[in-house]
Assembly symmetry: C2
Homo-oligomer: 127 residues x 2
DNA sequence: CTAATATATAAGCAATCACTTATATAAAGA
DNA sequence: TCTTTATATAAGTGATTGCTTATATATTAG
């Protein structure tokens, strides 16, 4: 993490062009910002935070998740589809069941880290 | 971070009550999940990711941010209000200008860490 | 005072969202 | 075969979102 500049670009006494360049240099591109925002969107729902927190502990099938959360099966499926579409979670079939699990890839790891910072990491300073 | 259990609660061979208890124990409460989701909601927009990335580098006033992003002033103000309302950012007045800055509190720190993980931390395994 | 500048806010609108009910699909059991 | 169970999907709905245009407020300059 970089140290933050406490004087605004316009300067409270003068315009600081160097600060402006510093900000431009660190400004994420349209695509980078969109990708980042997309990841946060997937986590920006109470039900999905719970689902991912559960899957971070154990693989689970849909009926178990719906049961444990006290939610309707289509509502849970709705959120699982959102998480599936962006490869945060995957599934394997087991008889009639569909067993979901956190993807073992970069996205899954990132999501796990984000959840840890926000849900479990409260009040901590180190991850 | 905890190790994940790869066998679903229902068990692919038997129902595992211990896994269910493990999941229940780690399931965030309604309030915890809502708080976490709220933080992610604030970051779940391309413009807000950019604004926060900018403020992570330097304090800035509204017209500078609008100018640098090529967006209308009300649009930027709209997003700044969202971030202000949840104390992710704060402001100080300087003449006609309003200078915004990242809050120097737990929320601001958390947001900075989250942004770092997703925007700057791509492909890295340690924060 | 008036004019210009910086910012906030309000109204409105198209798009998206989370969830519901209803239905489709698919596997297992009788 | 027919039934049950597990899951997905489709259609519909009320709520929210991001942005626009228009206006209000507040500070500075003349």
């Amino acid at each position: 993490m970089n140290e933050r500049i406490a004087t605004p670009i316009c300067g409270e006494t003068h315009i600081d062009k160097q600060h402006e360049e510093e900000v431009r240099a660190h400004l994420p591109s349209e695509d980078e910002a969109a990708d980042a925002a997309a990841i946060f969107t997937h986590l920006s729902d109470t039900t999905r935070v719970k689902l991912l927190s559960m899957l971070a502990v154990s693989d689970m099938c849909v009926c178990e998740m719906a049961d444990l959360l006290g939610m309707s099966q289509p509502a849970v499926s709705h959120h699982l589809r959102i998480l599936r579409q962006c490869d945060v979670i995957r599934f394997r079939k087991w008889g009639q069941r569909t067993v979901y699990y956190l993807s073992d890839n970069e996205i899954g790891d990132t999501v796990k880290r984000l959840l840890y910072v926000v849900v479990n990491g409260k009040g901590q300073n180190n991850g």
